[in-house]
Amino acid sequence: MNVPSLAFLGLVAVVALLLAISRSHGWRSALLLVANVGFVLTFSHDLRQLAPFAALLAGGFVAMRLMHSQKNPAVFATAIGALVLLFCWLKRYTFFPPGALLPFVYLTVGMSYVFFRVLSLVVDAYQDSLPERVGIVRFLNYTLNFPAFVSGPIQFYRDYRRDESESPAALDLSIAGKSIERIVIGFFKVTVVSPVLASFQDRAVAAASANLSPGLRTLDAALLLALFPILLYANFSGYTDVVIGAARFMRFELPENFDRPFSSKSYLEFWSRWHMSLSNWFKTYVYSPLLLNLMRRFPSRNVEPFLGVIAFFATFFLVGLWHGQTAMFVVLGLLMGLGISGNKLYQIEMIRRMGRAPYRALCANPLYEAASRGLTFLWLSFTLVFFWATWPELEGLVAHLGAVPIASAMLLTFAVGAVVLTATTALVDRYRAVFEEGSLAGLSAFARPAWYTAIAVVTASVAVMLDAPAPHIIYRGF
């Protein structure tokens, strides 16, 4: 089943209605199990295609139960290592020889996100931070939670358990209304905005091989750099809007994934606003344990900040590597790691030279802020080239566009990014101050339904015109 789609919304509506029949935990748990397993079966009925996925789940469940009683660090490390290896093998990472991979097509949709949940349960069980011994039904309901199955968001177990176990407040008109708004805006982003931006992106790629003047090549390269981050945001945040809004009808509060990422004034800040559930997962299970261990091993106040730089690099290298199975994603990981650790190193050095208060004052300077936004956007755009292009495509683009137009395009992306993103951030702040929190907030009771109805009509019209079965979600591939 595609997410988002009308069929998905239909399934959520049916499950939400059935959940409302009884507030007993047994009913909620059994119904969710049927819905979650049923949802996975919509991707395949073939047992052979489902078996590898089932093996990952079974391995995870056994490892988690083992960790409840087994506190040997070597056993824990072996269990984690085996699960990571199994995941990489099933995801066909290219460091495995082709002959060692399974010779048939099998289900991998949602596998990465299920893997994160499984791994967190194993770690939590080992560290005795789970509230109880997790049984098979709750394990499956958590790991396969169908609204977030395909591409997240990644919910922590403690938050999932709160939504599943505690009697949730009844769905009122206010929550329902806001959830519908969220779904409408999500569909608009993935059905209208994403295809438009994707078509511009395709045209910019095609134009690169035409015989363009140096000025047009600069413009084309700038479009190639700047379009994809916005396309990815529209696509992925649209998907997230739909699943968060839909899950609320089942009284699940999934975590947010985006918080105005393009307003970020540094790459460090950007990663606290972009794909937040993923970065929180990595912060909890990679960055924090790694840095704590490093600080225990090298207990020196002078060295600690640099240990933080190392931990940032290692964590974001893994984040990049997770995005794909080829060498391109090794480069993506390296660039992400360099960006985040370089940013941290710069902060440390500036605070050391200037002092914390003067550095804070510098960061609040409007010109410095705008330049920081431009630089953050440029670095993001540059790293994402290794996300959307293959090596042959990249070589072709560089050969056709040329070094000077590409360098000029980077300057242009930086300058336009600084101006446009700063202006957009100020406008959004102003809009919120006036229409959401200020004197005109009362208008929203009348204006909002009309506004979202208009967006829904536009989205439905575009969907009918495009006649596509469901919008393409870029992160579904992970």
């Binding site: 560290q127 909890t284 924090s288 344990p289 704590l292 900040p305 933080g308 941290k344």
Partner: protein, 91 residues
């Protein structure tokens, strides 16, 4: 150890970690209200607390805290029974 003693010890640790002698640990205090309390200094704080109180934190506990009140409660829950105690027991 009483709740007051936990907060006193926490105040002392936080002053050292954040290099601010005016800091006082209160239940409502959050990271956003303390200058320099980012993900890195949060881990320095947690490590200092582990050393000072003789407790260990799990990965999910470190990232789930919303304010100092939750942190103090978590520390209290990890102290051995003879060291942990409620204010009412102490008074």
């Amino acid at each position: 150890m009483s709740s007051d003693e936990i907060y006193q010890q926490l105040s002392s640790i936080m002053r050292d970690v954040f290099d601010d002698d005016s800091l006082v640990a209160t239940p409502e205090l959050t990271a956003g209200q303390v200058d320099g309390w980012d993900s890195f200094s949060h881990l320095r704080l947690m490590l200092s607390i582990e050393r000072s109180f003789g407790v260990d934190f799990a990965a999910s506990e470190i990232s789930s805290l919303k304010n100092v009140g939750e942190l103090a409660a978590l520390i209290g829950s990890k102290l051995p029974a003879e060291r942990a105690g409620s204010p009412s027991e102490e008074s």
